[in-house]
């Protein structure tokens, strides 16, 4: 398993009324081929902006710095035209809401075959044949008929399956899935998670799953990066991060979840709320909400430090080090 994507010191500035503001601040991570890499965090932590930066789909007037090397090429340095050849072909995206990501008035056939024909230059009938195959891969019943249908004729879960088929059309090496199951019911979510897992096995596809749901992370991700205020709080193997977290924020997120065994009637929320764009506190961005904050947390910007096998944590005081 080689490294497919290497992101180094990615910073994204968004244009606001008060000038540029950092939405992502010096983020580094790598994605190996064939693995599921999870990015977790609350709204405003910069997870979606990270994905958008990789695809060159940031909002107008946004700026980036750093590097994102994908198969030997820096995505952030590429010209828009060159990036357009990568996007949809080598890197594809599935977004949260399949009712807005699919065009309501175009047939499923048009939408599944469109970029196959554009990127791979194949003819209509060949594209059609591949579309039928793809729809059966994502388990759409009666694919031939589905091609003639429109998105409104499918349920939310089926639409998300179609959106995944659209993303897979050019056999990408990397799939960015931004909250792919948030809009779906748990029973449907289970099906989509199983589908993503099967696809990465069968096709050696790397998947970046962006979600705030740690349960979803636990089900599919091999490695997890927890983001806070545009920065990495903790990154490491799934089991390590979810069972022996070393960053107080990860601990807090886990404690805020309803406990699997029920019992205790109150939930334990993290005090305060996540910082908004441009109002990220200095020092460690989490220090105002952290129960373990010490004086130095207000001044020093912690960088993720390697503390175990492939496990990096940005918390120098390391208050959970002994407890683990």
């Amino acid at each position: 398993m080689g490294t497919l994507l290497e992101v180094e010191d990615l910073t994204v500035w968004l244009a606001t009324r008060n000038g540029p503001r950092k939405a992502v601040d010096g983020l580094s991570f790598r994605v190996d081929s064939g693995e599921v890499f999870g990015i977790a965090g609350e709204s405003g932590s910069g997870k979606t902006m990270t994905a958008m930066a990789l695809l060159g789909l940031l909002p107008h007037a946004a700026k980036t710095s750093g590097r994102a090397v994908f198969e030997g090429r820096d995505l952030l340095a590429m010209k828009p035209r060159a990036l357009r050849d990568v996007r949809g072909r080598n890197i594809a995206m599935v977004s949260q809401d399949p009712s807005t990501s699919l065009h309501p008035m175009l047939s499923i056939e048009t939408q599944v075959t469109e970029h196959m024909r554009h990127h791979l230059g194949i003819g209509r009938s060949e594209a059609r044949g591949r579309a039928v195959e793809l729809l059966s891969t994502v388990r759409i019943p009666d694919p031939e008929r589905a091609l003639r249908a429109h998105p409104a004729q499918f349920s939310g879960g089926m639409r998300q399956r179609i959106a995944i088929a659209v993303a897979l059309a050019c056999e990408p090496r990397l799939l960015l899935a931004d909250e792919p199951t948030t809009a779906l019911d748990v029973t449907v979510q289970a099906g989509i998670l199983r589908l993503l897992d099967r696809l990465r096995r069968e096709r050696d596809l790397a998947v970046v799953v962006i979600t705030h749901d740690l349960g979803v992370m636990s089900a599919v991700a091999d490695r997890i990066c927890v983001m806070y205020g545009g920065r990495t709080a903790e990154v490491g193997p799934r089991e390590t991060v979810l069972t022996r977290p070393r960053h107080p924020y990860t601990r807090g997120l886990l404690d805020a979840l309803p406990h699997p065994e029920g019992g205790a009637a109150t939930l334990r929320p993290i005090p305060g709320s996540p910082p908004s764009l441009g109002a990220v506190p200095g020092g460690c961005p989490f220090h105002p909400r952290c129960a373990f904050a010490v004086g130095s947390c207000q001044e020093e910007r912690p960088e993720p430090v390697l503390i175990g096998t492939d496990h990096r944590v940005a918390c120098p005081p390391d208050p959970l080090g002994g407890a683990a």
């Binding site: 709204s43 029973t187 289970a190 089991e239 979810l242 979840l257 929320p269």
Partner: protein, 313 residues
């Protein structure tokens, strides 16, 4: 124990032009006691929101009866509601849509007191007290909804509900629109209020793990019917209905185990054309041949549990 809220055989139909009526709720039964939290769960389209709206009278029913404190609940019309029904209130999902952006928070919360016949000054004073009770600063009275975060807005919406002095609250997905940390604190607030004011709460949610944490009893709906009700702990540890079982095993756990949740094959059928027999039989892993034509009613089991399944014991 007399029930605070009792819904028997409630059916709600939506009439559509050029199509047969859609039966969103079909013979649903529910009871709620004082001081009790009832979690109402199910997939989208199962009728849980419609049932919630029918209970407070926002939605007319086709048949069945809803009684609050022994009195029948009539659908809300153009006339003023009977004073006795002021005790039955609702909290909505989206606090961005449920608050008026152009009115001061204090005025919106105070409306409940004004309608109860207090003076303006008194209403404003008591609105301030309520806002403090739900965990907001006292100066919130003189501010507008846009100055608050989603979690705080939902607290405002809850305070507004409390102004009517309710004994029963129906909360329709009250935390779904909020951030993870705000979800936990708003859920905690609702639980505290129920215990402190001895109210009843119907907590409608698609998030099973939150319901498991806070509800005393859980009711599971499928395609317009309540298919299982019982004390939360028992419903979770040994679900009596195969649908409840499927729903619970579909919830992923954040235990780092890398276990994929179990998939329930098939989609929720179109509620305008429900399958014959037991409505769950086409997706049921343990269906018998008879399930295709026998429609089991919600039958009482033991320990305050009920389920609508021939296999439930």
């Amino acid at each position: 124990m007399s029930a605070l809220l009792e819904a028997t055989g409630v059916a709600v139909e939506y009439h559509r032009t050029g199509a047969p009526p859609l039966r969103a709720v079909d013979h649903a039964d529910l009871t709620l006691a004082r001081g009790e939290i009832l979690g109402l769960v199910g997939e989208s389209g199962c009728g849980k929101s419609t049932l919630g709206r029918a209970i407070v009278g926002l939605q007319g029913t086709t048949s069945g009866e809803i009684r609050f404190d022994g009195r029948p609940v009539a659908p809300l019309g153009l006339r003023r509601r009977p004073a006795a029904l002021r005790g039955l209130q609702m909290v909505f999902q989206d606090p961005y849509a449920s608050l008026n952006p152009r009115r001061l928070v204090g005025d919106q919360v105070g409306d409940g007191f004004l309608l109860g016949g207090t003076s303006k000054a008194e209403a404003r004073r008591r609105a301030g007290e309520l806002l403090e009770r739900v965990g907001l600063p006292a100066d919130a009275v003189k501010r507008y909804p846009h100055e608050f975060s989603g979690g705080q807005r939902q607290r405002i919406a809850i305070a507004r509900t409390l102004a009517a002095g309710p004994s029963c609250i129906i909360a329709d997905e009250p935390i779904s629109a909020l951030d993870a940390s705000a979800q936990a604190s708003v859920a905690n607030l609702l639980v505290e209020l129920v215990r402190e004011l001895d109210m009843g709460l119907v907590f409608i949610s698609h998030d099973l793990s939150v319901v498991r944490q806070i509800a005393d009893r859980t009711a599971v709906m499928y395609l317009g019917r309540v298919v299982e009700v019982g004390p939360t702990r028992q419903v979770w540890s040994e679900p009596a209905h195969p649908y409840t079982k499927a729903l619970i095993s579909a919830v992923p756990r954040a235990d780092g185990g890398g276990v994929l949740p179990v998939e329930l094959p098939g989609d929720v059928p179109d509620p305008s054309r429900p399958p014959g027999g037991c409505r769950f039989h086409p997706r049921c892993p343990v269906a018998l041949a008879s399930c295709a034509h026998d429609d089991p009613p919600l039958a009482i089991l033991r320990d305050g549990r009920s389920a609508a399944c021939v296999l439930a014991k």
